[in-house]
């Protein structure tokens, strides 16, 4: 665990950069983390991020299949929005903990 200043706010993050406390998250933090990942956030990104935050808040597991079936984005678009490792990147930007699923 380390302390980091993201978007002028001091936050605690894991070694991999995931927020420890999801409640300190705001859109500015999201934009700053996304920039580090090389992603410029659009409204579509925020739709996905909000879906992820809702899911996590409800205590539900996240999978790419689940996100692809959410009606928010399909799997292919999800991969395009967060290129590389979409689930890891999207959760980091959404300020929730790193998903532990293999799927």
């Amino acid at each position: 665990m380390t302390t980091k200043t993201i978007a002028n706010i001091k936050v605690e993050v894991t070694e991999e950069g995931y927020l420890i406390d999801s409640s300190v998250w705001n859109k500015e933090i999201a934009k700053a983390i996304a920039k580090e990942e090389g992603i410029e956030l659009t409204d579509k990104h925020f739709e996905v991020i909000e879906f992820i935050r809702k899911k996590v808040a409800a205590g539900e597991g996240l999978t790419i299949r689940g996100i692809g079936k959410s009606g928010v984005v399909d799997a292919k678009t999800f991969y395009q929005l967060f290129p590389g490792a979409p689930l890891k990147k999207a959760t980091k930007i959404a300020g929730v903990s790193k998903p532990v699923s293999c799927m």
Partner: protein, 167 residues
């Protein structure tokens, strides 16, 4: 002392040669997992593994109830081999397996391949096995990019950080 350099995995080629439900899913889960991590992924099906990409058979794969010493009854008792050979037993066990997999959000084979393709993964069939089983491109699922030779497969293995996994 020699300095140990680390090369992160960049590309993975998975080979699936068996058509059992669990063998196919092992390859699919590994492939999908690699795609999820942003690793370039190529999935190659050969011999009985072709069942997993053949339209007619892909969603009807079974788990073997005979010759599988790790098989257990619900509750954990060993599964008698003789019982496994009775009509309907394999279908019943397979149904149970599929139910448990669905609970973990593991999709049916065709959807799984589509998910892998959506993430940029590529699916191939082995030419020799396809010839042997008299299968053509149109017999395979639309996610199958091509029917390729062993040489073509090896040609895809270029680059530092590439691994081949045989499941």
């Amino acid at each position: 002392m020699e300095k140990e350099e680390k090369y992160p995995l960049k590309k993975v080629l998975l080979i699936c040669s068996k058509g059992n439900l669990e063998d196919v899913y092992a390859a699919l889960v590994m492939a999908n997992g690699a795609v999820m991590e942003g690793i370039e992924t190529k999935l190659f099906f050969t011999f009985f593994g072709l069942d997993a990409i053949t339209k007619k058979t892909m969603n009807k794969l079974h788990t073997a109830t005979v010759g599988n010493p790790a098989m257990r009854m619900p509750g954990g008792l060993p599964f008698p081999t003789l019982l496994g050979g009775l009509p309907g037993v394999e279908a019943g066990v397979t149904k149970m397996m599929k139910k448990e997999m669905e609970k973990l959000d593991m999709p049916p084979v065709d959807e799984f391949l589509e998910l892998i393709e959506a993430g940029g993964g590529e699916v191939y069939a082995c030419k020799l096995a396809a010839d042997m089983f008299k299968l053509k491109k149109e017999d395979f699922h639309e996610t199958v990019k091509d029917i390729i030779t062993v040489g073509e497969l090896y040609a895809m293995c270029d680059g530092l950080g590439t691994q081949i996994i045989f499941t």
